[in-house]
Symmetry: C2
Subunit: 196 residues, 2 copies
Amino acid sequence: MAAPSALDQLVDSLKRLPGIGVKSAQRIAMHLLQHDRVGAQVLARSLEGAVANVRHCARCHTFTEAEVCSTCLDPQRDRRQLCVVETPADQAAIERSGGFQGLYFVLMGRLSPLDGIGVRDIGLAQLFERATDGEVEEVIVATGFTAEGEATAQAIAQTLKARGINVTRLARGVPVGSELEYVDLGTIAHALVDRR
Amino acid sequence: MAAPSALDQLVDSLKRLPGIGVKSAQRIAMHLLQHDRVGAQVLARSLEGAVANVRHCARCHTFTEAEVCSTCLDPQRDRRQLCVVETPADQAAIERSGGFQGLYFVLMGRLSPLDGIGVRDIGLAQLFERATDGEVEEVIVATGFTAEGEATAQAIAQTLKARGINVTRLARGVPVGSELEYVDLGTIAHALVDRR
Ligand SMILES: [Zn+2]
Ligand SMILES: [Zn+2]
């Protein structure tokens, strides 16, 4: 069978997505062309739209379509507390817990020397600049309680403490080895209260 | 967190893909925007290209970019034998076996009443037309040996035999290279019935 090149290209592009192997890519391509061509076009437009419009918030580094995200612009938030999380999903989990009214800094990753992800890749320089704006009194480090999350937390704490900033860490109420995103709300709320 | 709408749209479009849940969709969207915006654009163009250019072969129904696919146009193939398969991947598997020199008809699916996939959806009418072109002498049904594949095979055999066409089915049996000890009982029972 001489496969059509447009189909091959589609399978190759899908294979490039994280967690999608060649079999999944073939199944998805087949499904789209056979049963959901509208879905394929919607996805194409969504990809173009996201690439064109989604950028990083100038203050907290999360994804936004504006210069500064709505959370950072919210006058109700307590500007003295800055919570550092790995991802927007982790930020959303803390918001759902209802236990935090301050602002955030989203690393968009974590230190992972084995994957070549260092201090530059997760915007630590921007965090240090953000944390020394004169308003922030406490930086609450809410990176995951995984090996990489802990290493990231230590790198942050070391540098910020050296600059005289008050750094706390979520309490170990969060189960060790788990991603914040999957932790129940009560545990997150307690961990915020018990931060050390 | 007020998530940006372009990001939400991307996650929604990804969620629509088979086998992709909301967590996977978020992870993929995050990865593309954070680490592989070029990959997102390549995928968008591949989707557009495939939707615009990939259609069904007028003779065998498989995906192709031409009116008739290269296999159907190949003058070396034996036009007296027509092998019916569920998918292009199944066709490719038979090609790799090197055991078949005839032509194919690709159903692009199989009967699945529970999923609402009936005779119309898998192009059986086109198969019947194709099989009665005056050149085809034998239709070899190579749908899967699953419940749905067997039901599809029976529907095909019934209709074609009623029109006087010679219909055969791939033999059920013990896979080459396997120890009998490890073969499931149903397969052994079928291999006994179909012994040659
Ligand atoms: Zn922000
Ligand atoms: Zn063809």
